[in-house]
Symmetry: C2
Subunit: 355 residues, 2 copies
């Protein structure tokens, strides 16, 4: 598997994506960019306060990095379906900025202290600024749809529809995750329900990226849905891999080691363990998850139970199979080209990565 190629591709794309984001969300607002973003003011704008309340927190967070894989997925899908990179580059801002917005909200909701090796945004700017920055990031990218005068309005409407549906689904995914973290409806939680939650929480933004890419390439609704399904599977597999890394990664990935256990997360790993292990182990694992403890020894105890029942291997092969199966479906519909070749490598990279 030549994942290096895809890592190089992501690294090549990243500065171009960040430059595009900067065009739509400036690092510093002035009179002109305020007027462009908000319309003609009736009274008087306050660029300095706009910078302090909107740009600064957003860019502090975006500058922490991230793989920018949703924009890459969008570009590759659009190209594979016959669009040019330049047709799609403005729109990659949409899923990427929104993804970062959900991370900021997530950290407040989970009371997380750290993100990407730095204090969570609300720890630096306050909960008020962080929530509002996150909200602003949901809507600022829509300016790109609004200002596009070249595309057919019906095409823009399709993009808005894709945005809206996937944002609804993200918020449901998050709702389920929260309810289950809190230990609610434990009895109803099973593998399929967990995977559905991931499809909403993590899959939906991948779906959005794929749908936008395909719509830009003028794909019909059926093909849009096909690439969306593929992207959703990649997103879910990515999430499963994230869950695995959270308890196996030796190095610090920005998030704290074992934080998922501390948060009480009922991941695929946990659900699989609970169906396989004996009653004593199950009772103890649930007990630890409900403790919300930071005690490393106790967290390790939970991880040991999970490992004992081969849940890591199970989850890993589940994620792999998911990507292979979903790839086989789009493989048939996509014409052979360089973008398609990259797309296949890309899907594998996201599942096989160890970072």
């Amino acid at each position: 598997m030549k994942t290096e190629t895809i890592e190089a591709y992501l690294l090549e794309l990243k500065p171009l994506i960040d430059k595009k984001i900067e065009e739509w969300i400036p690092r510093q607002y002035d009179a002109a960019s305020m007027k462009f973003t908000l319309g003609e003011p009736r009274y008087e704008n306050s660029p300095a306060s706009g910078t302090k309340g909107v740009s600064e927190p957003i860019w502090e967070f975006l500058d922490r990095g991230g793989k920018r894989w949703r924009p890459a997925l969008m570009v590759l899908i659009a190209e594979a379906l016959g669009a040019k990179r330049s047709d799609v580059m403005d729109f990659v801002v949409v899923p990427e900025v929104i993804h970062n917005a959900t991370l900021i909200a997530d950290d407040i909701e989970d009371s997380s202290d750290m993100r990407r090796g730095k204090p969570a945004l609300h720890k630096i700017f306050g909960v008020d600024v962080a929530i509002n920055a996150s909200n602003a990031m949901y809507f600022l990218p829509l300016k790109i749809l609004m200002e596009n005068k070249e595309m057919d309005p019906e095409k823009i409407k399709r993009m808005y529809d894709a945005f809206s549906q996937e944002m609804i689904n993200v918020s449901f995914g998050q709702a389920l995750d929260i309810i289950w973290h809190k230990g609610g409806f434990k009895e109803e939680l099973n593998e399929n329900k967990y995977l559905q939650m991931c499809a909403y929480k993590t899959g939906a933004l991948a779906r959005m990226a794929a749908k936008l890419g395909a719509i830009i390439a003028d794909a019909n609704d059926r093909d849009v849905e096909k690439v969306a399904e593929f992207a959703e599977c990649v997103g879910v597999a990515f999430q499963i891999q994230d869950d695995i890394l959270n308890i196996t990664a030796s190095e610090n990935l920005g998030k704290e080691f074992g934080e998922d256990i501390k948060e009480g997360k009922r991941s695929l790993l946990v659900i699989h363990t609970l169906t396989k292990c004996d009653k004593n182990a199950a009772t103890r694992l649930v007990e630890i998850l409900d403790m919300h403890t930071s005690d490393k020894k106790i967290l390790q105890e939970a991880i040991d139970i999970i490992k004992k029942y081969n849940s890591i291997e199970y989850a890993k092969s589940y994620a792999r199979k998911m990507v292979v199966d979903s790839w086989n479906k789009v493989d048939k519909m996509l014409p052979e080209n360089e973008a398609k070749r990259k797309l296949r490598l890309f899907a594998n990279f996201l599942v096989e990565r160890d970072i």
Copy 2:
């Protein structure tokens, strides 16, 4: 001024609006409404957890009431421009649900304890559920645009554009409000900048309601902007009246008496006082605002300073003039009809109200 007529009109409309909201955001999710809202699940949906995480907090909040004046404004504008009430009734869900979403977020951001006479939503359901419910409420109403198959896609696109622009502006208004509450950029704050912040924070959702109503009635862009300007002025005047009531209302309005002072809010009242009063009074007023105290005696001291410099009368007449001037502009463009007659009464009601 026969405000009773308008109060009766609002009371007549309210149950119809709430019924519409319920059609799009059910009080309880089942398999069918989950599928309608989220699309076909690949794995398995969890209606009980969806109800607990999404419906319950949203409806607990919506059931607290509110005047529902944004939907009323939307209906009246659409009718005044020639549309039928039935054309517009689905869409009134959009500004109303979003308005409530912003209140939920506001209360978390301001660490408010109470809203509409009950504990703030995050005090009941937790910050995690409340933030996410607020986010869900931004997007769930877009299902109405998405599912409409009768309207021309270009018309739907215009509605999405109106939604997007005003959501951006709301988030900027909130950003400025937060920065100034925190005492940032005190030196740049003046009457015009405060009014601009209100135009974004409170005016934008009124603008959204007006724009949607006018677009449904097939108004051209120029006329859409005219009614949007009127709605913005009504919104700002409403906010000024809210600020006045916060320090003059004898009865409890759900929010705590003097809470704006406690929060350090640089309202029009405060800004006017600071430009008129002597240096000692100014120093003391700013000192109290920066204290974020709950001490009733100290809050009263600030209110006494504000009253001494006739700032209440100033703000009141400012709001009145704003509504009259903006009414005069739309008066010329709107044909004479019953809806227009109500619209005029309505604007006055929002400014003259003492509740």
